[in-house]
Symmetry: C2
Subunit: 218 residues, 2 copies
């Protein structure tokens, strides 16, 4: 989709219509204006991308380390996917740099559920002695490691193209991020639980889990 390649601003209605074999005026007729078309595309993407096939990571009976690796692999696959396969990724990229009013909905529909799920996985890895904010930061450390390859891909390409994970071969990267994270969480947990007596000071369990629905809903 043109929006994914060029971003909202640079995508021209004329090019979109040329590729789609449609008339320029049809956009304004059916979607009121360019922004209306954009939102229509977004909801279409949302439907496309439901039901991710990462069953392993979702299976709560599997041990956390395996679930983490499955999640990392799944996320790498999305990060490296072609725009055709996962147009939302590129669109999200643009929204980061210059948000449009559509970002709020994208976050609520796509990001927040995934963030909460990953946070609960990180809770399993870190144990109950970490605060909500500590847990959130650890969660962001994981996704940050992976998203780096998306956001900085052009720089990586210039630095050393062999470091960029390839669509058909990124197992080494999956294993690195997984093991880096597992080593970190295990180390942090061991230190924390040796510092504080494991009886008391488990954190206030009434405090909400990370990434709960915030007050600012659209």
């Amino acid at each position: 989709m043109v929006f994914a390649e060029k971003g909202f601003r640079e995508a021209t209605i004329r090019e979109i219509c040329q590729r789609a074999g449609a008339n320029v005026a049809a956009v304004n007729y059916h979607f009121r204006d360019k922004e209306g078309l954009y939102e229509a595309v977004l909801t279409a993407c949302r439907n496309d991308h439901r039901n991710p096939e990462n069953h392993l990571a979702m299976d709560s009976t599997v041990q956390p380390a395996v679930r983490l690796e499955a999640y990392v692999r799944w996320m790498f696959r999305r990060v490296l996917a072609l725009d055709r396969e996962f147009p939302l990724g590129q669109i999200l990229n643009r929204e980061m740099i210059e948000p449009t009013p559509a970002l709020s909905r994208i976050v609520e529909v796509h990001i927040r559920p995934e963030a909460r799920w990953l946070a609960s996985l990180m809770r399993d890895l870190l144990g109950p002695t970490f605060s909500r904010d500590e847990l959130s930061r650890a969660t962001m450390s994981v996704v940050g490691q992976i998203l780096f390859y998306k956001h900085c891909s052009s720089v990586i390409h210039f630095l050393d193209e062999t470091l960029m994970p390839r669509r058909d071969d990124f197992e080494a990267h999956v294993r690195h991020v997984t093991e880096f994270t597992l080593a970190a969480t295990a180390g942090l947990r061991a230190r924390r639980e040796s510092e504080t007596p494991l009886t008391a000071t488990t954190f206030d369990s009434s405090s909400p889990e990370p990434f709960c629905k915030s007050p600012n809903v659209h």
Copy 2:
């Protein structure tokens, strides 16, 4: 600078000149065209940003853990800096999403030296038993954790604004990334050195260090 706020494409010569109190035609007279102005701005930024004040991290007599924390703190400060203070950051953001011919030079001048330096610090943390690629990936894990807060700031804001480090208070984030990384490297190193007999199989020391100057120079 307008380029930093809006990106190359969306920055209009008229707005730039209005803010600068100059005439629109002056740009074409002095810099040939818009792209010439852009490159002039970039070299100006380069000169502005020389000589970073992270002496502690650079001091190789200090122990690696302290240097890492100093580096993380320095990088967070840049990531959270206002555009006025560090315009190159925002410009680099844009270049990631849609690179212009100027990106190559930015990488060689700014990114590669820093990447090599950080990789050598990571070498100190991880020891000699890790390959060049493993070392590179660990390096990227560190910067990925920090850059996440820049590239995803708008999403973080929607998810839970309290998680976004503030310009005047990001020590908790610095400590998290530092400790997360130290725990990861310590864990990985301990595992590696217990697996392999510490005598042999230290990696081929003739293999070049990460982020060496690649063949594709502009």
